[in-house]
Assembly symmetry: C2
Homo-oligomer: 470 residues x 2
């Protein structure tokens, strides 16, 4: 373990440079890089180009790498690592991953300002960076780049061998990711991947995620009549696809909150006792977690604890539904079609494709006469489990504790970050998930924000972590 002398001036430089770091982040946030909507494809490329330019300024050999979807950004350290603070040739080779694409912004009317005209706001809870992507994931990925910038400003070089790998399709199922990793395995290979796309535990404790839920998405469209009908002329005689879809969705859960698909729980094991005990010790304050979003009662399975509901139990959720007339006023239409977007969070060794087939079989079996169904698959990833055997894990826990003044916890994550599993599968590399988002960041929602504290201490955390690892 190297001594910590190189770290002190880097932390000071980070504190000094915070205003300019915030300016850079605001500049990146102004680019509406929504990956799921083809209308923003040009903006995704613009965001990638912005990052390449920034990485080149840090001494990287960086480029925009086309895919059949949105481009990747790959940067390798063109300078030999070294300088007085660097780990030099003997240090580890680290890969850093983040994503520059963001979620759509609707419903736009619920935003207090233009989601792509970000600003620093003073709030009762402190200063926040407001805008789409502020937390997920532009603000988070910039914590790492700013830590490198400060290191280089102080020591004249990057701290160790580094590869930066930034994706532009994380919010749209990452269709290009695996082919790109396979095609560029040699270039992307490193000793350890660092992924910054997660949060603090309960907005207070630094956390390393070791358990991630998988995700399988389906779009389902039920067709009844071959065109929209007048509900006066046909109502009562013709089948209504909204009624059919409602019945199907209502049947997805039983009365105890369990998902009612055949074989859904295959591969779902009870939480090991030692993990359950560790989570119990975290004293998760589910009352506050729920009351922050206007709720009070855990709505999952009767038999699960609140933390299990979001970390270790699988789910079925309807993420969107539409059909018939949805505009102003009233239209007495009996619609031809009704659609829903449904997703399943997966745990253990649940097979996403088996769950997809079980869902489709359930829908087909529930279809009444005269109705047909179309399915459209939207991505599939298995749950992930990080090995904490790698010695870096304990080093990083110590570095995070130094910055935040509280022990770092090994936690679960209800969201799906399949990249961690991909690094292991396709590049044979362990991955570590560290992030600084807070529960009230409103990621994927209107008025997304990232605390200036998350950003500032996040940058400092990476500097401490690099000092421990190199």
């Amino acid at each position: 373990m190297p001594d910590t002398a190189p770290l002190i001036p880097v932390l000071a430089q980070i504190d000094t440079a915070l205003p300019s770091a915030l300016d850079r982040l605001l500049d990146l946030l102004r680019i509406p890089s929504i990956s799921t909507d083809p209308a923003y494809a040009g903006d995704c490329t613009r965001a990638a180009e912005w990052l390449v330019k920034d990485l080149v300024s840090l001494g990287f050999d960086a480029s925009v790498r086309p895919t059949s979807g949105h481009p990747m950004v790959v940067a390798t350290d063109g300078e030999a690592a070294g300088g007085e603070g660097g780990g030099g040739e003997g240090g580890p080779h680290l890969l850093f991953y983040g994503h520059y694409d963001v979620q759509p912004v609707d419903p736009l009317n619920l935003w207090a300002r233009d989601p792509f005209d970000p600003m620093i706001e003073e709030t009762a809870k402190g200063r926040v960076i407001r805008g789409r992507g502020a937390s997920d994931d532009k603000g988070q990925l910039m914590t790492f780049l700013e830590a490198l910038r400060a290191w280089r400003a102080v020591h004249g070089a990057l701290p160790c061998r580094l590869t930066i790998f930034l994706e532009g399709e994380e919010e749209s199922g990452s269709p290009s990711l695996i082919p790109f990793m396979q095609d560029n395995a040699r270039e992307l290979g490193a000793d350890l991947a660092l992924i910054c796309d997660t949060g603090l535990f309960q907005s207070r404790s630094p956390a390393i995620v070791t358990m991630l839920r998988g995700l399988m998405g389906e779009e389902v469209t039920i067709t009844g009549p071959n065109k929209d009908l007048h509900s006066g002329m046909y109502g009562g005689l013709a089948i209504n696809p909204i009624r059919v879809l409602s019945r199907i969705l209502a049947g997805l859960h039983d009365d105890t909150g369990r998902v009612a698909l055949n074989g859904f729980y295959d591969g779902v094991d009870d939480l090991p006792e030692e993990i359950a005990a560790q989570w119990q010790a975290l004293s998760f304050d589910h009352a506050t977690f729920l009351s922050d979003v206007g709720l009070s009662v855990p709505a999952g399975e009767d038999t699960a604890t609140p933390l299990q509901m979001i970390w270790s139990r699988p789910t079925a959720e309807v993420n969107g539904i539409w059909g018939g007339y949805t505009g102003e006023g009233f239209k007495t239409v009996l619609p031809s079609k009704a659609s829903a977007k449904v997703s399943f969070r997966l745990v253990g060794v649940q097979d996403p494709n088996a769950v997809r087939e079980a869902f489709r079989a359930y829908v087909r079996a529930a279809l009444p006469a005269d109705c047909s169904v179309e399915f459209h698959a939207h991505g599939a990833s298995s749950a992930g489990h990080m090995s904490v055997e790698h010695p870096a894990f304990e080093a990083v826990r110590a570095a995070l504790a130094d910055e935040w003044g509280t022990p770092a916890a090994y936690v679960g994550c209800g969201g799906s970050i399949p990249i961690a599993g991909y690094f292991k599968t396709y590049l044979g590399m362990d991955a570590m998930l560290v992030g600084f988002a807070k529960d009230d960041d409103a990621i994927h929602s209107p008025n997304e924000k990232y605390d200036v504290e998350s950003f500032h201490k996040g940058i400092r955390s990476w500097a401490r972590l690099l000092a421990k690892l190199v």
Copy 2:
């Protein structure tokens, strides 16, 4: 009964003038008078002005009459009725009702052409007038005006005392109608109202509607979390309002197809035997009626016949549903809100307000913890029953039989045309519903059309009917 000599030259004039009558209708169809969307308020007024101008050219004293919503058009015959074919002072005073507003046009992408750029199309089934409002109700109301135009061209005057009353809010619940009728009862009073907003029976037999369903509309919005959430972070723990709404809508019907609201069937009587027998004699071809829209199985109550399902049984239908992410791609949102537009077709003496309260009570009782609900009322009208005691009914049946070569039937109508009941309630006047729409006119749907045959024979039908009545 006057002799029919005055009729012959009028029918000839109608045949000769058909091309110019079609031109006039196309002109009216170009005005996008969608009443339910405030963006088209100016176009509604434009349509009213167009009609006033046309009525003035027919010798009427006509004007656009402002309301708190879209304007009414009222025209009275400024000329004394007379001329050689006229009924003169001794004839009946008839009121004609139609509506110049039209339904919204979405989904616009399913239209083969601009809904407000109408044209005459040659089809395998004959010539049709294509465009929004071609059938409902601009094409229908113009049949009456064109009959008057021909009568006046031949005889130099209108056939009898006439009042024309055209509404611009029929497709949006007619909020101004009752106050306007009350405020203008003396001016609108007549011996009999003729309403042209219905169709031929099975697209072949002329029909007089004597039974109309009522309509009650509700918009319901379920709120769970106070903002949209990330389904990874909260999924499994937070209540999902789409899931709640789906369960509520799925519970609206029981397994036999009956509506499962408390007291819903209060005021619903079994069909009288003589009416049931009359309907049986109509030999309703429900297989063709359904197959025209891609269906085969009656989807209503187990115990009802197909004709009863659309004419004499009440219904609950979901006319629209929306919530969460409905755009391109996928967004793993757990939404704050989910909404639906629900309507109930009413029969017998069902009380629309009692049904509304029963619906609201059902929804409130079905709400789980942490969910709230908002309701928005969208109109309410009771079912209507025409008395056929008035001697005009038999005269009109005869006139229609002369034109179409087949007996006119007394039929039901699944749609809601509350105006008929209002004429009785507020003006003490019987009403007769005669129309020429066909089942495949696609009213309220993309690619609405009106057969040139409906338009042409409709005009001729009114001329015959006027000759019988004056």
